[in-house]
């Protein structure tokens, strides 16, 4: 069981959270017609064996989207930050 430390609710079992995948993917803007950019954003994944930046939503709690830095081999969690705070430039 992973234990994720939600900045709002405290440390909880990961079964309270929904996984949202790779947090480093930047989708092109909707008016961007570049096929290659869309192909890469939708389908290509770095899939690291080690440190991975990923999205989790605390659906069983505050419902906030979080960015979790986790090791995919050891399950060690390095940091948990609100995705909104990160998007606004971090604090």
């Amino acid at each position: 069981m992973l234990r994720i430390n939600c900045p709002h609710c405290g440390e909880r079992d990961h079964s309270e959270f929904a996984y949202g995948g790779d947090a480093t993917i930047k989708y092109p803007s909707l008016d961007n017609a570049d096929q290659e950019a869309w192909f890469r954003a939708v389908f290509i994944r770095k899939n690291p064996r080690g440190k991975h930046s990923e999205l989790w939503q605390h659906v069983g709690g505050c419902r906030e989207w979080l960015v979790v830095e986790r090791d995919t081999l050891t399950h060690e969690i390095f940091s948990v930050t609100s995705a909104r705070v990160l998007a606004e430039g971090g604090q």
């Binding site: 069981m1 990961h14 995948g21 899939n47 995919t72 399950h75």
Partner: protein
């Protein structure tokens, strides 16, 4: 080579089983090959076998970092079926099932293929409709499928919970009679023996660390046993696909996820079929030793950890007990996990890669065991002829770029949902 037969069994029994030959040779690597296959799982071994057998490629080496059959091929729940509906998968998995039906004879090795029938359960009228559509597509492609109504299901699988208070209301199901299970280790060993006897060098404890290049062409591999050159290099490394492909400079539409399985203490024969339950993603069958083999969903997030996780244990065993109440006091003996290549559309990739000299076989998600014969058969064709076989013509890498994904489940580009 020593052939296995009634006479070899008798002869060896009478001489105290001291004279059996090794099943395969254990050679040192040569400096150069026509084809190097990386990965001694089911897919790598079958590829090497068919390269030698169907295409007469003379100098083939298979490199395995651990021991043959030590990967997912020895870690899965052994279900073999061909009830796929989407063009691309339909013909591919049916080719595989046809090869399974001949495999023990072809390899002169008993892979214990048991066509006990696989039942897919439906819990709503809508799901019954979906199965009748799937069954019709299968039958139009010459694949066997039969619908079962609730009464037929009660007769066939009397131990499921049909009571008014049942957690799941069972409406019926679909059965593929030709589906079943096979002994997974035997599949690896049978292909290994067959390949070795046809001249393939199977080299264990030999990890591929990187690639040899001339210009942009791959001309061999760097290994823990030194450099080995080859005209063509083919990879079939399941849970290591991303990390190895990265060394060749190839990025793929793949995520690694964990899949767990469980086995209980042995019982007398009780579950005669393979049962799949899509409503809650659960499946169960009984092994020849009597243990019930069961499994469920992925753990759900990227992982290379290769060990299980309690939420899934809880979930799978809860579903098992809800469907088959009589299992409630049974003990689970073991559970384990394998690292799966989850592709972005849930279907595999067998292709010539964009990097000259490199061929790829990956993205099997959690259904790759049933694919073992056809995967090797079509991959060998692709490598030897430099063009896909008709049965893997739609399983190419560029389908993602061109917008021709094969999304059997309709889940979209989210690997964890397939």
């Amino acid at each position: 080579m020593q052939r296995y037969s009634v006479f070899s069994l008798l002869g060896n029994a009478l001489t105290g089983n001291r004279n059996w030959e090794r099943a395969w040779r254990d050679p040192d690597p040569k400096p150069e090959y026509d084809v190097i296959v990386i990965g001694g799982g089911g897919h790598g071994l079958s590829t090497a076998y068919y390269l030698a057998k169907e295409h007469g490629v003379r100098k083939v080496a298979l490199l395995e970092k651990g021991y043959l059959g030590g990967g997912n091929v020895g870690r899965n729940t052994t279900i073999v079926r061909s009830n796929y509906m989407i063009p691309g998968n339909t013909e591919f998995y049916e080719l595989s099932l046809k090869l399974w039906e001949e495999l023990s004879r072809d390899l002169n090795y008993n892979v214990m293929f048991s066509q006990r029938g696989q039942v897919s359960l439906a819990t709503s009228p809508a799901q019954m409709e979906a199965y009748s559509r799937r069954g019709n597509v299968m039958r139009m492609n010459g694949i066997d499928a039969e619908l079962l109504d609730r009464e037929q299901l009660m007769k066939l699988l009397p131990y499921l919970d049909y009571s008014p208070s049942a957690r799941y209301r069972l409406h019926g199901g679909m059965i593929q009679q030709r589906a079943g299970t096979a002994r997974h280790d035997a599949v690896a060993w049978g292909y290994a023996r067959g390949a070795s006897n046809r001249g393939v060098d199977l080299i264990q404890q030999c990890e591929v660390l990187g690639f040899l290049r001339e210009g942009d062409r791959i001309v061999g591999v760097e290994t823990t046993k030194g450099p080995i050159r080859a005209k063509k290099v083919a990879m079939a490394v399941a849970g290591s696909t991303t990390t190895l492909a990265e060394k060749a400079g190839l990025e793929l539409p793949i995520e690694s996820h964990l899949l767990q399985a469980f086995v209980t203490e042995p019982l007398k024969p009780m579950i005669h079929h393979v049962i799949s339950f899509a409503t809650a993603h659960f499946y169960i069958s009984q092994s020849d030793k009597g243990g019930l083999v069961l499994g469920g969903d992925l753990d759900g997030y990227n992982s290379y950890a290769q060990r299980g996780n309690l939420p899934v244990v809880d979930e799978v065993l809860t579903i098992a007990k809800a469907l088959i109440p009589s299992l409630s006091r049974l003990r689970v003996l073991r559970h384990w996990a394998g690292v799966m290549d989850m592709s972005m559309d849930g279907s595999p990739i067998i292709d010539i890669s964009p990097i000259p000299g490199l061929y790829i076989n990956c993205g099997w998600c959690y259904g790759g065991f049933k694919a073992t014969p056809a995967s090797g058969f079509t991959f060998a064709h692709t490598i030897a002829r430099d063009e896909p076989h008709p049965c893997n013509a739609k399983l190419r890498l560029d389908r993602f770029r061109r917008g021709y994904q094969i999304d059997e489940r309709g889940a979209g580009p989210v690997p964890g949902w397939h």
